[in-house]
């Protein structure tokens, strides 16, 4: 029994220590956004790697998600004779939930794994030590540009995701249900304005839909860098870091999404 207690104790200590290093890393990464030296070249490179190169999968997933949403809702709404509300349903789902979450999960899979593998390999081949030795703070050089790039790029990807999703819905509504495009877009706009406005001009749905990917971007980049920097044990360790990054950031996105939704609904009203 004491052996079990000792093991539980060791596991708990390990977890607490892990959380502590993660929080410190995330804090430093954000703090260094405003510190010198600023690695602008790395930032642009990361925005390209995280944003531009993720565009394809985001376009694809967004479009098909919008189409399937329209298809499923047309079946449900037909029973009530309410197929004219397809536009409202697709836009509300895409902008508030599916756009941010799907973009987050896609980027976690594609970019999170890549970042963890790259930083992990740099760790096991002593390149991180080399940076340190050459007088460079690896957090400033590697982590901050990735975190900042993800914070900026993920909301942009989400907007694109939302847009092609609603377009996909438009296609299905027109082809399968026979709903005119002008009518579809009018219901989309009515749905967006129905949620109310913040500061008089920004629809609340947009705020919800943009705060989420901002947070998700931070989660993905910091998780990937955390596991990457914690890599040990050679190439096998790189694989472990990659897997952990994808699993941890995907779960974190879904869990944080719930609480964030509750918080935003309370703040923006509508709950």
């Amino acid at each position: 029994m004491p052996a079990l207690v000792a093991r539980l104790n060791a596991a708990a200590q390990g977890t607490v220590l892990g959380v502590q290093t993660y929080v410190r890393l995330a804090w430093n990464a954000l703090r260094f956004i405003f510190a010198r030296p600023f690695y602008g070249g790395d930032l642009v490179q990361q925005m390209d790697a995280i944003g531009v190169q993720s565009l394809g999968i985001v376009l694809l997933t967004g479009f098909f998600t919008g189409m399937v949403l329209a298809l499923q809702s047309s079946v449900q709404l037909r029973t009530f004779g309410a197929t004219q509300y397809i536009g409202s349903l697709v836009s509300a789902s895409m902008i508030r939930e599916l756009g941010p979450v799907l973009a987050g999960l896609m980027v976690a899979g594609r970019v999170g794994s890549g970042v963890a593998a790259q930083i992990g390999s740099m760790k096991v081949t002593e390149q991180i030590d080399a940076l340190n030795t050459l007088g460079t703070d690896p957090i400033k050089k590697l982590v901050t540009p990735r975190v900042l790039a993800a914070l900026v790029v993920l909301p942009l990807l989400t907007v694109i995701n939302d847009l092609v999703g609603i377009l996909g819905g438009n296609l299905i509504a027109k082809v399968y249900v026979g709903l005119p495009s002008s009518f579809y877009w009018r219901t989309v706009w009515e749905q967006i304005t129905a949620g109310g406005f913040s500061f008089g001009i920004i629809p609340n749905d947009f705020i919800q839909g943009l705060v989420k990917p901002f947070v998700f971007g931070g989660i993905i980049a910091t998780t990937a860098c955390h596991y990457g920097l914690a890599t040990s044990g050679g190439t096998e360790g790189v694989g472990v870091a990659t897997t952990r990054t994808v699993v941890a950031s995907s779960i974190a996105i879904l869990v944080v999404d719930y609480f964030l939704t509750q918080l935003l609904l309370a703040v923006l009203g509508g709950a």
């Binding site: 081949t125 390149q127 030590d129 703070d137």
Partner: protein, 307 residues
């Protein structure tokens, strides 16, 4: 180097270590010093039950030392890596740290770079205690050091040119022409043709070439201190000779102070001013290669047995 010269140097070392006056007295005490050292060694061997060991008489940095470890203790969890390690290197000297695998040789380098902090004891660089420094201050100290890693640790996303230019871009405000001039100069110093290798990625180079680029990057900023982690491991005998000559050339032409961690006794004997043998978490032996070769310590004899 003759035996007299060797003894005189050893004596000088002791004298400086204690801050004693320089002069004729030093030569006179050379023979005595040798006897004292062997007595201490005998005592160390006899005393293996954890009693108080001889320690540095006066804590604080030794005058003239560029690198000094003072009674350093370090452990990870329950595992003790170093238990009271002291040695020092003076300007222009090459100290080779040898020992079996897992005796804390690479750890010693990490302490000098302050990638690790000792649990007890002090590490001085040019008389400055680096243990109390913040992360940013430690980065400043590291700018004066060059480190050659076991696997070269070149940034594999950057070309050879960008790798060597890295410390210059990071810490100087040289314009591109000056950076290129220096990169070419450093690559030529390590016997690489700049026009051939500059635009290549590290993955396209052989192990020996990568290591030479690693040396070029380490010396780009003209450091006062060079650290080498197993510089010749995994290299063929000819390349080993090239790298060993390169380290000697750096010492001779640039006057850098070096610490070399190595398994390779043959190259250690060629390049080291002093050899420190780490065994059983302590410095088992510290002396010139000649003294090591003529040591009557059983462990040292066994260690050299393969040679």
């Amino acid at each position: 180097m003759s035996t007299d010269e060797t003894e005189a140097r050893a004596a000088e070392r002791r004298a400086v270590e204690r801050g004693a006056e320089r002069g004729a007295e030093r030569a006179a005490t050379a023979g005595q010093e040798r006897r004292v050292r062997s007595a201490v060694r005998a005592e160390l061997e006899a005393d293996d039950d954890g009693e108080e060991r001889p320690r540095a008489e006066e804590p604080g940095p030794a005058p003239g030392a560029v690198i000094e470890l003072e009674n350093v203790h370090l452990g990870f969890g329950d595992r003790v890596i170093l238990d009271g390690v002291s040695f020092l290197a003076q300007r222009g000297e090459t100290i080779a740290v040898v020992g079996e695998s897992g005796t804390g040789k690479s750890t010693t380098l990490k302490l000098i770079l302050r990638h690790l902090q000792p649990d007890a004891g002090r590490v001085y660089i040019d008389g400055q205690d680096i243990c109390g420094l913040s992360f940013e201050e430690a980065l400043e100290v590291r700018k004066r050091m060059g480190m050659v890693f076991q696997g070269a640790a070149l940034f594999d996303s950057l070309t050879v040119y960008e790798n060597v230019a890295y410390p210059l871009r990071e810490h100087t405000s040289y314009d591109e022409t000056e950076i290129e001039r220096r990169v070419r100069e450093k690559l030529a110093f390590v016997d690489l043709d700049p026009d051939v290798v500059m635009e290549q990625l590290p993955s396209a180079l052989s192990g020996g070439m990568r290591k030479r680029v690693g040396v070029a990057r380490a010396i780009a900023n003209d450091p006062e201190i060079m650290l080498y982690d197993e510089p010749t491991s995994g290299l063929d005998p000819l390349t080993t000779g090239t790298i060993t000559r390169l380290i000697m050339k750096l010492q001779r032409e640039l006057g850098v102070t070096s610490v070399v961690v190595s398994h390779d006794i043959r190259s250690v004997f060629r390049m080291a001013s002093y050899v420190a043998v780490l065994a059983d978490r302590r410095i088992r032996f510290f002396g010139t290669p000649e003294e090591m070769a003529s040591s009557d310590d059983r462990y040292i004899r066994d260690f050299l047995g393969g040679f």
